[in-house]
């Protein structure tokens, strides 16, 4: 299938609510808005594809393009691995001017695959096309096919050059790649009636490990996480699982839907952010497993676990309530589903002064509205200048957002916490919520805020006095500076009693205008 046909196919997503509401003509246009030159931000399709596939930890990921694509972007996310680390090694063909002019791209790619297979013997090599190699017409699929046969190793073409579209499109194209080339190409060694896959969870900062034990506790076996902490073979045999959970955003909905069509695996959309969402994810998984033949007892056990874990998490959150009560939070995020976090923060007594709904669905928005009864401050986007002003005017006590807006908050001397994919902290499941609330409390109560907000000495009201020349003598007698760093003045009381009759502390005034001659030399 050509790239254009593939993109059309991806856009025409029957499982997407939004898509279903459109007429035939609008559907053809696709769901991604055209990018605005001069006002575009965010990653390209290649970026999106790599985000989805790179967490397959034992595979080699080879980027076929000039250096910028990989050299400027590698090692930038924190998808964690419990074992293999090959995925963190960056491979690129580093296509040069000569390669482009002489048309040596394909040969170089083939040799690069060979070098990687010979050196690392990975279970698979993912080869990513990029703008330049797509443009010069390198037949990546053909090279991959030849290499697969020659080296007896799956070599998988990932056709998502940057110009194809935005990051979200890249996510979907990566899903297509997995469906077309990986899933169903191997059979699992073990298969149980409670095997599940989680789609769209990348184990950032180890978040998968915060929730996987919950499933295990219920006897549910996570067969493949697509693709957090994944092994190639698990993904390749993911078609034998009984249920797919699709995490959060609809990025990989095409994959979930196609797996249902081809392999009859039911799926549901859920999230591990927030207490209710986590419980709901467990509940829905159990329900679908029972529907596909698991022991109905699973439902009872799931409810028991949920009750136990919810009681525990609320008890663990309670101590933070006094620290967060009445604090105002500005939520600015696309990645984390806003409403479930909103509900937990409100449970802590926090006031949500605003939340972005950039990537939320109509259903999400309705839930947020329901939660924030009085005045739902929902917005699509805030201009950086307005955001700075809001924060500078202390309209919020903390902003939760991603790295892009981090410095707007910090420059406005406002507490900030990273809530997006690039963060280092794991916030998933019940434990993750406790961790998040703990971090918010620590950020708000960090003593640094008082220090950095204090005016500089030359900005204070006394600054005029400070620099008046005649202030000199008085200042020496009774220094007024100080504050938490205590500064003491020992002067008058240390003067010897038999010293010449000088009024304590006034001697400088007494000598004002004198010169050295009058005072005598020492």
């Amino acid at each position: 299938m050509s790239l254009q046909a593939k993109i059309q196919d991806v856009f025409n997503e029957p499982a997407c609510d939004k898509n279903l509401l459109k007429d035939e003509k609008a559907r053809k246009k696709g769901c991604s808005k055209p990018l605005t030159p001069g006002a575009a931000a965010g990653g390209c399709a290649f970026d999106g594809a790599k985000i989805v596939l790179q967490p397959i930890t034992d595979a080699a990921h080879l980027i076929h393009g000039p250096l910028a694509c990989e050299g400027n972007s590698y090692d930038n996310r924190h998808a964690a691995s419990s074992g293999p680390l090959l995925y963190r090694t960056s491979f690129t063909t580093d296509v040069t001017e000569l390669d482009v002019v002489m048309g040596q791209g394909e040969k170089k790619l083939y040799r690069a695959i060979r070098e990687i297979v010979e050196t690392h013997a990975p279970p698979a090599v993912f080869v990513y096309s990029t703008c330049v190699t797509a443009l010069i017409g390198d037949d990546i699929e053909a090279v991959c096919k030849t290499a697969s046969a020659k080296f007896a190793t799956p070599v998988i073409p990932v056709i998502a050059p940057g110009f194809a579209g935005a990051k979200q499109l890249g996510n979907k194209l990566a899903g297509e790649t997995l469906f077309d080339h990986v899933i169903g190409t191997a059979e699992p060694e073990v298969s149980t009636p409670t095997d599940i896959n989680i789609i769209g969870e990348y184990n950032l900062s180890g978040e998968l490990w915060q929730v996987e034990p919950l499933f295990r506790r219920l006897g549910i076996r996570l067969h493949a996480c697509i693709t957090g902490d994944a092994r190639y073979r698990d993904v390749a045999s993911a078609h034998r699982s009984r249920v797919n959970m699709m995490v959060c955003s609809a990025a990989l909905i095409n994959l979930a839907r196609k797996m249902e069509e081809r392999y009859g695996i039911p799926y549901f959309e859920g999230s591990f952010y927030g207490v209710e969402d986590t419980s709901d994810a467990l509940r829905q998984t159990a329900r679908l497993l029972v529907r596909t033949g698991a022991d109905p007892d699973l439902l009872t056990r799931t409810e028991a676990l949920i009750a136990e874990e919810e009681a525990r998490v609320w008890a663990r959150l309670a101590p933070y309530r006094p620290l967060l009560q009445g604090k105002r939070v500005l939520l600015y995020t696309g990645g984390v589903k806003s409403w479930s976090v909103v509900s937990a923060l409100m449970e802590m007594g926090m006031e949500i002064v605003g939340t972005s709904v950039r990537k939320s669905t109509a259903e999400d928005k309705a839930r947020i509205k329901q939660l924030m009864k009085d005045d739902p401050h929902m917005f699509e986007a805030i201009a950086p200048r307005d955001m700075y002003r809001m924060l500078k005017d202390r309209e919020a006590d903390i902003m939760l957002s991603g790295g892009r807006t981090q410095f707007i908050a910090l420059k406005a001397k406002t507490p900030w916490m990273d809530i997006n994919q690039e963060r280092h902290d794991a916030f998933a499941g019940y434990d993750g919520m406790v961790e998040m609330v703990k971090k918010i409390a620590a950020a708000i109560h960090n003593p640094v805020w008082a220090a950095v907000r204090a005016p500089a000495p030359w900005e204070t009201a006394e600054a005029d006095d400070l620099f008046a020349p005649n202030f000199l003598a008085d200042a020496l007698v009774t220094p007024t500076f100080g504050g938490p760093v205590l500064t003491e003045t020992v002067l008058a009381d240390t003067l010897p009693q038999d010293a010449p009759a000088l009024p304590a502390g006034a001697f400088l005034k007494a000598f004002a205008g004198s010169d050295a001659q009058e005072l005598g030399e020492c």
Binding site: W209, Q210, A443, P496
Partner: protein, 462 residues
């Protein structure tokens, strides 16, 4: 406010302290043309000398009266006199700074009296050399005390009693604490001079122990505070004592000259730097230089970035009181938690203000124990803490003296806006270098709870 807990055990394990005579020697070396002279057995001098060489990577001219068994019993005055005359003829120093040791103090020699007698009797032989004496028994205090007492001795010996304070309205005395490096001292000098003021810094090891290569062999200290400048300290408009332990020398100077004293406990941290800069602005009547304004803004930005890394980290720190104060206030100000604070002297006012529940007067064994109990993410102390850091598998911020396993400690700057920023970045980078990858076991929600056997999980097949 912290509670200062005195030593409760008998066996000191991996000492934190160095003795007072070493501190005194270091201070004397901050005076131009000086030779420190330990009145004690030669081992006292050798150990101190070797430790200073390891830290500064410099030739260190410390001499000894080389007390032997006979002089220990009969009295060491002869040895002292002989040492003074030998030093005079061999080195022609401008200053001989005597520091007593535990040996001579225990013997109970009337050092002050003997020094007076020798100086009177040998006035001609010793002409042109000032001899001062500080009582620094090894069993009392540590580096800070020795340093401060030597500074007092220098002031007592070289600053005449006058009442001409302010005669040089732009002159400022800075009594530098032991916790400042040569790099710090130079930064203070630059800062003071940027206000058009003329500082006299005492002791000034930035001119002697800063690691330079002189053109000729110099048997004494390379440089340091010029004797003439010390003599003129009574004409200054103000004195700043940097560190609580410099309050006593500051009071002595104020007693002798009437120059008003301000004690700045620390110059590290935004508030401390602000206070000092404001004081200099008042004193000079000049606006704060643009460079300092820019540096302040950089520091504020660095704190905003740094608090994200330093905040909530647990740190155990062992240092002499004023250094402990400077480092712990910086850390706590960024949201770090001080899970262990260990220091050397009970009497210091700095200790009461350490941002920890308690400050233990103790050793590096205590530091290691507190760090382990408090699960510290970082330990901060001098180089001897490296064993503890290795055992705990924690990063080690090297502060204080001695630092013998890293080059360049004498040039490190941690005072003022820029210095605070540098120290904070060093701390934050130690944390960043220690990045611990998340693990399934560490994030398992059941990690602290027993799992029923029936539900004992079958691990993922990978």
């Amino acid at each position: 406010m912290s509670i200062v807990v005195p030593v409760r055990k008998s066996a000191t394990v991996n000492p934190l302290k160095q003795s007072a005579p070493l501190g005194a020697a270091m201070a004397y070396l901050g005076v131009e043309g000086a030779v420190p002279l330990f009145h004690g057995s030669q081992g006292c001098t050798a150990f101190a000398l070797v430790l200073m060489v390891r830290h500064f990577k410099e030739t260190i001219p410390i001499q000894t009266t080389a007390m032997n068994e006979v002089s220990t019993i009969l009295g060491g005055a002869d040895h002292l006199e002989e040492a003074l005359l030998n030093l005079k003829s061999r080195m022609k120093p401008k200053l001989i700074g005597i520091a007593s040791t535990a040996l001579t103090e225990t013997r109970g020699e009337d050092m002050a009296g003997e020094v007076r007698t020798i100086l009177k009797r040998r006035a001609d032989d010793l002409a042109g050399t000032t001899v001062v004496y500080a009582s620094t028994p090894d069993f009392t205090g540590a580096l800070e005390e020795g340093w401060a007492k030597a500074t007092e001795a220098v002031i007592a010996g070289l600053v005449p009693e006058t009442r001409v304070a302010g005669a040089d309205p732009l002159a400022v005395n800075i009594l530098v604490g032991q916790h400042l490096t040569p790099g710090d001292i130079e930064a203070v000098r630059d800062l003071v001079e940027s206000f058009g003021l003329t500082p006299t810094l005492l002791p000034d090891i930035s001119l002697s122990l800063d690691g330079t290569v002189p053109d000729a062999w110099v048997p004494t200290s390379y440089g340091g505070t010029p004797l003439a400048a010390i003599g003129a300290m009574g004409r200054a408009a103000a004195t700043f004592a940097i560190g609580e332990h410099m309050a006593a020398p500051g009071r002595l100077l104020a007693d002798r000259t009437g120059v008003p004293l301000t004690v700045q406990p620390s110059l590290t941290g935004l508030e401390a730097a602000d206070a000092f800069v404001a004081a200099l602005a008042r004193l000079s009547g000049r606006p704060v230089p643009e460079r300092q304004k820019r540096e302040r803004s950089r520091l504020v930005d660095a704190m905003l970035d740094g608090h994200l890394i330093v905040g909530e980290r647990k740190v155990a720190v062992a240092a002499e009181p004023d250094l402990l104060f400077a480092v712990t206030t910086l850390l706590a100000g960024l949201g770090a938690r001080i899970v262990g604070a260990v220091s050397t002297a009970v009497g210091s006012r700095a200790l009461e203000r350490i941002p920890a529940e308690e400050v233990l007067i103790g050793d590096l064994g205590d530091l290691e124990r507190l760090a382990r109990e408090g699960d510290a993410d970082l330990i901060a102390t001098h180089s001897h803490g490296r064993q503890a850091a290795e055992r705990l598998h924690r990063p080690h911020l090297r502060i204080g003296f001695p630092i013998f396993d890293r080059l360049g400690s004498q040039h490190k700057v941690s005072v003022g806006y820029a210095g605070t920023r540098a120290l904070m970045f060093e701390i934050a980078n130690l944390f960043q270098a220690e990045h611990h990858a998340p693990s399934p076991a560490g994030l398992d929600p059941f990690r602290d709870r027993p799992v029923p056997a029936a539900l004992s999980p079958e691990p993922r097949p990978c």
